[in-house]
Symmetry: D3
Subunit: 71 residues, 6 copies
């Protein structure tokens, strides 16, 4: 504890995960005034067909948007 969990899109590069964990941990350590060692982070990757925004799956939403702006 503290324990951070982040729900986001899939991440391809290990370097991105490194940056994410470093940044979140530092932000939490600074705000709470706690040492980084006791802070844990869990990265959760979600396929766009498992995420809904405004009642619509992200896969459908992206498709609708790309059809609106075809260039």
């Amino acid at each position: 504890m503290p324990h951070i969990s982040i729900e986001g899109p899939p991440i391809r590069e290990l370097e991105t995960k490194r940056k994410l964990v470093e940044g979140l941990t530092e932000a939490a350590a600074n705000a709470y005034g706690l040492r980084k060692e006791i802070i844990t982070v869990l990265i959760k990757e979600n396929a766009p067909e498992n995420v809904g925004v405004g009642g619509q799956l992200l896969v459908d939403r992206w498709k609708a948007e790309s059809e609106k702006s075809p260039d």
Copy 2:
């Protein structure tokens, strides 16, 4: 926000996920009196070997039940 997360079994059809996200979002928008656009949904799919009910894995539970009623 609001943010809905639903833990359930794996879902095969994209149409089912569509229906799930639409229904959950509408239910929340109606109850809170908020517009759908700010509501997010996360569908979490869990293998039956990762779910326990009554102290028993779902895979074992289903097997036990099918042996009781063999037709």
Copy 3:
């Protein structure tokens, strides 16, 4: 299982919670094709000082918005 968890603002009326639980449960039962009895819902109420959107606490965001449109 399925298990629904909804993170939202505080809810004052019990009737709103009733409507929320009924609606979410029905939406999930319909989409999964499962009976309502095995579906659970957890309502989580969050104070606006514990929610951040776009890097800003909701309390600050609302204040900023009301100052922009003073009527």
Copy 4:
């Protein structure tokens, strides 16, 4: 989405919550390469009697530690 949830101790100052939400949001925006506006944060405050570390409640753990080092 992305959606960050942080489980930690109670926070007394609103300024600390501000700092926490700003820092977490920036870290996530930088790592994902996404704009801050779509990132949400939920701060969860937990009483020390509701947190266990190493099989022991935090309240008991702190008491045991303060008895070991009485100055």
Copy 5:
């Protein structure tokens, strides 16, 4: 890590929380073959008006049941 989170009813006695954290931590340590020190537990207490089972709030469900069996 591992990190256990348990959503349940409000708990009045500190001794119950102690027992819960001890038991969950030991169960996890035994199954994973990990030392207890790295396992954390979060107890979440939920009012019966924030929990839905079968589409019904627990407060309503209990009331309905007590009216059926009045002794």
Copy 6:
């Protein structure tokens, strides 16, 4: 309800998952004084590249440790 969720490393053997679900469910049933049948468990498996401890991914942490103690 109660609903237990455990975030940990990947588990290879089904027997380990059985033991984990049995142990967690019994611990919760004993502490709350509730029957096991209404308790659910969700096992969440996390790749070491999705877990951060002390600001470092587990994959990097393990590598750093194995380089320190080369036998």
